[in-house]
């Protein structure tokens, strides 16, 4: 056992303490690992000492059940110990590399260090999201079954916890260049939030996050500012579009980046990206696909050997990003189309919901291959994304019908198949997608119509969720207001105390409603998602 592991961990639940010790036994084979851990520990101690500690926060606890979701805004270099949390309010740490670690007691420090090692181990095995990787990561990663799920609640589902909000504000303040005192602005919530969702943010489109950014905003790269605005105004929407835009912007950022003296590109660039990511998540919470893309980039950056010249490194990174986009998005959609076209036969009536770039692509390809079918596009207020899908399909020449989602029971008897897109596939087999998807799957099931979900593997995520409440996104509530015959009833909804508007963005579909998931790896049932995740992680 390494020396650091030999200490007693006082503040930890004995049950979990035991798990820690067992884990360490497992990793005893690779002595190399522990040495690396020591190195990493030393580096981190240095970084901790650099930062000031303000207040003594309470010992950090975490809920074990929820995995830290991929859209965590910051790069969590350190993890707090994974306690079996009592159902008490959770104070998650928002730590970035420049973490605000308050002065702690010895026991807490030890507990922290232990958790850090665990997190390093788990992140090495690829299961953890965004752990700070050291330059030398040669994992002979044996996927460890007894991983304690070291999770952290992301900030964006803790809006009702004032301590978490304070921490976020401080973190955003700290993400500043030392000379210039501008920072990533904290966006404030808008309007009355329905009590069931008081733990989520609700922003208004009328108050963009860039209002408080001073000029020149040297902390945040201008193309990131532009991207953030495009996200918050809804100009770029859709999982694939957002990820691709993000990756292109990162390419630009890397292009413009220059390593400051006495710093290593692999570490400094990652630090530079953190405020950008915080800013983007303030504009709009990160999607699962974006989170995976960010993880990939950070891993690639950390893997740049230190002796690499700057230009060479930048070129390599840009090539990595290009290949990621190409493999995971473009080629994946080709593969998925190939599989999906097998499932479309002549005379089919296919129902699609909203605007999924992947499903539109599949239908266009099938039409090119001379399949005879017609499409029913289901749309819903307030986003009315189906109009865009309708436009694309009609342009191609496909015969289309258009209905709103309330007419679903009317139109379903004619339908032979339902194709749905997904925003993310969760590890327990639930499909997270645009709100209304679960409804379509439910009614299709009642009418015995097969439901096929099309999803690329880069959208698979380790989170688990059983309902649409705990982790969701609240859109601008003013979108629900509509004017009919010159009258809009909800115009002054803010003035009425007991009236609330709820504009959800996502919902989760249980796996028993979904008959098949078509991915670039093939056609799998919904419940095989964790298998795919495991295979992917071993490959990496």
């Amino acid at each position: 056992m390494a020396d650091s592991d030999g200490r007693q961990v006082d503040g930890v639940n004995h049950a979990t303490g035991k798990i820690y010790r067992l884990k360490l036994f497992f990793n005893n084979e690779g002595k190399e690992l522990t040495k690396e851990e020591k190195q990493r520990l030393r580096k981190e101690k240095k970084q901790h000492k650099k930062n000031k500690k303000d207040d003594k926060g309470p010992p950090e606890k975490e809920k074990e059940k929820e995995k830290a979701s991929v859209p965590a805004p910051s790069k969590p270099a350190t993890q707090s110990p994974a306690h079996k949390a009592a159902p008490a309010p959770v104070h998650a740490s928002e730590s970035a590399a420049a973490a605000e670690k308050p002065a702690k007691s010895k026991a807490e420090l030890r507990a922290e260090r232990r958790a850090r090692q665990d997190s390093e181990r788990t992140s090495k095995h690829g299961k953890k999201e965004g752990g700070q990787q050291s330059a030398s990561s040669k994992p002979k990663a044996t996927p460890n079954e007894l991983q304690p799920v070291v999770k952290r609640l992301p900030e964006h589902v803790q809006v009702d916890d004032p301590a978490a909000l304070k921490k976020l504000a401080k973190k955003l303040e700290r993400q500043q260049v030392r000379q210039i005192h501008s920072h990533v602005p904290l966006r404030s919530d808008y309007g009355y939030k329905v009590s069931l969702f008081s733990h989520l943010h609700q922003y208004s489109r009328k108050s963009p996050p860039t209002l408080q950014i001073s000029i020149p905003a040297t902390v945040i790269h201008p193309s990131i500012v532009r991207l953030g605005l495009q996200y918050s105004q809804g100009i770029i929407a859709g999982s694939n579009a957002r990820s691709v835009a993000l990756l292109h912007t990162f390419k630009q950022v890397i292009q413009d980046y220059s390593t400051p003296p006495n710093e290593e590109l692999s570490r400094d660039l990652v630090n530079k990206l953190s405020p950008y990511i915080s800013f983007l998540s303030q504009c709009r919470p990160l999607s699962a696909s974006m989170g995976n893309a960010i993880k990939y980039i950070k891993k690639e950056i950390s893997n740049i050997p230190s002796q690499c010249k700057e230009e060479e490194a930048k070129g390599k990174l840009q090539a990595c990003i290009d290949s990621y986009i190409n493999e995971k998005i473009i080629l994946a959609s080709e593969a998925i189309s190939k599989y999906a076209i097998e499932k479309i036969s002549d005379g089919d009536v296919i129902l699609v919901y909203g605007c999924s770039s992947l499903v539109n692509h599949i239908l266009c390809k099938a039409f090119e291959k001379q399949r005879k079918f017609r499409v029913i596009v289901v749309d819903s207020r307030p986003r009315l994304e189906g109009r865009e899908a309708l436009r694309r399909l009609v342009k191609k020449g496909i015969r289309c019908t258009y209905v709103l989602i309330s007419a679903l029971s009317y139109i379903l008897p004619e339908v032979s198949k339902v194709f749905l897109g997904a925003h993310a596939l969760l590890a327990n087999g639930y499909v997270m997608s645009r709100v209304g998807t679960s409804q379509i799957a439910l009614v299709a099931k009642a009418y015995n119509v097969p439901v096929l979900v099309c999803c690329e593997t880069y959208k698979f995520c380790e989170r688990v969720q059983t309902d649409s409440f705990v982790s969701n996104e609240l859109d601008d509530p003013d979108d629900l207001i509509v004017t009919r015959n010159g009258k809009s009833h909800l115009e002054n909804w803010q003035t009425v105390k007991s009236l609330g508007l709820l504009n959800l963005v996502y919902d989760v579909t249980p796996p028993d409603f979904v008959d098949l998931v078509i991915t670039d790896l093939g056609m799998i049932p919904c419940t095989s998602v964790p298998v795919v995740l495991r295979v992917k992680n071993v490959d990496q």
């Binding site: 209304g436 309902d467 009833h489």
Partner: protein
């Protein structure tokens, strides 16, 4: 001649009523509730009884049937008109039978037995003339009118039996009955209401503003979020346009989805419907489609190449419904056929 004046006045009124119905259906006129339509139909029928020329019950029934057919043809989806006509026909039959002296119990006894034994022998029974028939019929119609006026209150009185405190109740669209029901319960209990807005007309917005004015915690959700929030809902309370003879509903579109979601989460679905909505007709071909107000959603050049559908009503099968609350109390959907046989005579099912 006073008689002719009365007749022309009568036909004028009938014409006015018909045109009003047609206008409401096309959305140009003000939207009326079914209660209002029922009341107006009944008062019109009373007027016909009072002013038209008839000598025996058979004539009266013929006149009313004729007018009834005209009225229902004016707006087929407004079934309350036809229901009221049938109620009045049943009243005439009852009054006639009472005047003739046969007891009511004998008439209502085992309709199946009657079918087998008497067959069509009741046809010529209505030719006898009774002096007081007119007065009796008008009195009975007045009773019917009183009953109609009290339906909403009767239903709202039962609210406290069904809503406990801190409940989350979901409803869809706008129903005056449900509105009164919830407001009555809100006087004594605190609960939360989620209203699905029911696109494209978004009548749910009106409902929500009206409920929130009574200090009821209300939330408006788009139709797409119905399944997403259903897991937190304790009860679903809806109104309906028509209650069908098998216990099913013809309700505003989106109700079937709501009912399926409630079934999936085992949430009880309660329908507040007064008795005058009960209809023996089921015309499956009658599915009104409204395209006008819906087309604004699509730009012109796409609209020309696309079929757009916007149905107004949904059919909800009786298996998805838990309870009917009407002015005569609560009933299970399996009992509706029995109530139907008490309200209408089987020969009047086809006007």
């Amino acid at each position: 001649m006073p008689g002719a004046d009365k007749e022309t006045e009568l036909s004028e009124r009938i014409e006015a009523f018909l045109s009003e119905l047609k206008r409401c259906g096309s959305g140009a006129g003000s939207l009326r509730g079914s209660a209002e339509t029922a009341r107006e139909t009944t008062s019109l029928l009373r007027r016909i009884t009072a002013q038209a020329r008839w000598s025996n019950a058979g004539d009266l029934m013929e006149i009313i049937r004729k007018e009834g057919r005209r009225m229902t043809a004016g707006q087929p989806s407004e079934t309350t008109v036809g229901n009221m006509v049938r109620r009045v026909l049943k009243i005439i039959r009852e009054e006639y039978a009472r005047s003739r002296g046969s007891t009511e119990e004998a008439d209502q006894q085992e309709s199946l037995h009657k079918l087998l034994t008497s067959g069509g022998s009741s046809e010529d029974n209505f030719r006898q003339h009774f002096t007081h028939l007119k007065a009796n019929v008008i009195e009975a119609i007045n009773e019917l009118l009183t009953e109609l006026e009290g339906t909403t209150d009767n239903i709202s009185m039962q609210a406290l039996e069904h809503i406990h405190s801190n409940e989350v109740i979901m409803t869809i669209g706008r129903s005056r009955t449900v509105e009164a029901f919830l407001k009555d319960a809100a006087r004594k209990r605190k609960f939360h209401v989620i209203v699905a807005e029911c696109a494209p007309f978004c009548q749910g917005h009106e409902m929500a503003t009206s409920l929130s004015k009574e200090d009821i915690e209300t939330t408006v959700i788009p139709d797409a979020a119905i399944f997403a929030v259903m897991s937190r809902v304790n009860k679903v309370i809806i109104g309906t346009q028509t209650v069908l003879a098998n216990g099913g509903l013809r309700a505003v579109n989106g109700t079937h989805t709501l009912a399926l979601a409630a079934k999936h989460h085992s949430t009880p679905l309660i329908v507040c419907a007064p008795m005058f909505k009960l209809s023996p007709q089921w015309d499956s071909a009658l599915q009104e489609l409204v395209l006008r107000s819906f087309c604004f959603l699509l730009p012109g050049e796409i609209l020309s190449k696309v079929n757009a559908h916007c149905p107004v009503f949904d059919y909800v099968p009786p298996e998805l419904i838990t309870l009917f609350i009407s002015n005569i109390g609560g009933n299970a959907p399996s009992y509706i056929y029995r109530l139907m046989s008490e309200l209408y005579h089987p020969e009047d099912h086809e006007l």
